[in-house]
Symmetry: C2
Subunit: 331 residues, 2 copies
Amino acid sequence: MVKIRDVALHAGVSVATVSRALNNYSTVAPELVSRVRDSAEKLGYRPNALARSLRRQTTRVWSLIVTDIDNPFYTALARGVEDIARDSGYSVLLCNSDEDAVRERDYLQVAEQEQAAGVIIAPSGRDTDVSRLIAARIPIVAIDRTMTADVDIVRTNSGLAARAATEHLLAAGWRHPACITGPADSETAEDRYRGYREAALAAGVEPLARHVPFHSDGGTEAVAELLGEDDPPDSFFVANSVLALGVLDELRRRKVAVGADVGLVMFDEAPWAPLLSPAITVLTQPAYDIGAEAARLLVARIGAPEGAPHGPKEIVLPTTLVVRESSQRAV
Amino acid sequence: MVKIRDVALHAGVSVATVSRALNNYSTVAPELVSRVRDSAEKLGYRPNALARSLRRQTTRVWSLIVTDIDNPFYTALARGVEDIARDSGYSVLLCNSDEDAVRERDYLQVAEQEQAAGVIIAPSGRDTDVSRLIAARIPIVAIDRTMTADVDIVRTNSGLAARAATEHLLAAGWRHPACITGPADSETAEDRYRGYREAALAAGVEPLARHVPFHSDGGTEAVAELLGEDDPPDSFFVANSVLALGVLDELRRRKVAVGADVGLVMFDEAPWAPLLSPAITVLTQPAYDIGAEAARLLVARIGAPEGAPHGPKEIVLPTTLVVRESSQRAV
DNA sequence: TTGAAAGCGCTAACAG
DNA sequence: CTGTTAGCGCTTTCAA
């Protein structure tokens, strides 16, 4: 491993000069700069980021903690984060908590110990403990879900969108929409449920819902239960695309035809949504932009002076209903 | 930030003792161990990973570089890597090169500068330059695609599988299968093409193929071109699921019915494959296991003594043809 | 403008 | 068994 000392020796200057030259300090004589650069180039010198970070007391790495790496919403979001991070010279440590509070805690600890420059997190629960990060002055931006801790957040208005989706189902002629959502302690799951509930109540329909884990099996299970009800639903509002996978699978298994026997709207766009027969009506969240905005917020926080007084920022992005076939009653 | 010195002061011992106690050196008196642990606990001490790594000259972080984070194959693989990494006490820096050699180079450089303990990479091309990592003695495991560099690799036998898939198409009664694959400089793309070609030739069918970028747009484009041929194909062997998304989209747009007008088999399982009508016949790769095996190989390499003589290992996992409806001629 | 030297927080010889 | 101390490789005062 070639270190700064080797470059200094080769260039015939001190290590301090090498450091300054390579970090673009304007105080170094131009000739020395080029001599140093040449030496560094020739020797194949790469600064040791560990040593630099230790000395500078700051790293160039972010942690991005998501709850489900298989959810296209999060991969799209990750791209948004990553693009902005790259532009700003950061690398992103992508961590998958799998909705598991223990894994999440572990990753938060890693972020702390590795002295992450910042953390972007989709918290597994509202009470996810980030107090240590805050104490360590590591900026945090929440995405998708709010948390009790006082941090910046970028999200969409799930409740409103859920309400609109349910109203759409009703307007399309479905009489008895049910809601399949995530665990009650997940904020987005609850918001979406509430939006559905409002719309149902407003239309004089008795709300019918299932809270299941955010996995496709959860969707499967919920459908099975719901269709076993005395007064089964004739349509579904599903709180995310992973859940919908299970829902659609179970519906198919039971030979229940979407768009004819039952209606369906799901939260989140997915690459396969337009390909199904019928094509799935979705609530599109600007996933990439959520990530990008969160990244911008983080950059701003990192750059902000120590005792900057500004309170937590909140950015709410719009969700769009994309009407396709699954929500329509077949002719 | 509470540091080791603070713990030492609080526990009334030297920093060395704190270090030893916390790192489970058996030479420390049990009473001191507990005193140190108590102090550390009380003060909320968290070792600075940067300082530790700098001193130990080794980190607990891996880089996992994939070419497309939106490809379910890679997210499943990432889970495999992550699970084993966690078990072995490592964190995974997941990087998305997007098939872009420049991004890939940047990430490799980050891995080097951050002194990654190891790197698992799906190289964007066979000639991806990992010489610096090798020089820095950072173990590397290739996944999915081989490379000219001498590294461990975990992969499937794409060629064989592709051949089987094409033979299956032919056996199902399709007369003129075409191949839609990735860029010619991508090894898996080429392997899959060759497998297809062998099967076609063996059956006396003139090979017909398109090499396009591994994005859904590539699939769209390929279909458009292929169907414009004088002697258009009656079925498709598609080299991965992302490409297939574009293929299916274009087929749908043109109102060409899969399973009736054309047959289709794609490489890789995808959560939506069984949900389409008709359900898609796929070549399933054990993505999770590929990741897990790669991780195990990496653990072994990291643990191996400096001058260990064993050459690069290669692990080839089986691919399974899952016959569903899209490859069958409708009655 | 440059160099010498201190020190980021930790671990690991080396002494005792 | 415990403490003292020398670094890991780098940046950044402080002097010259």
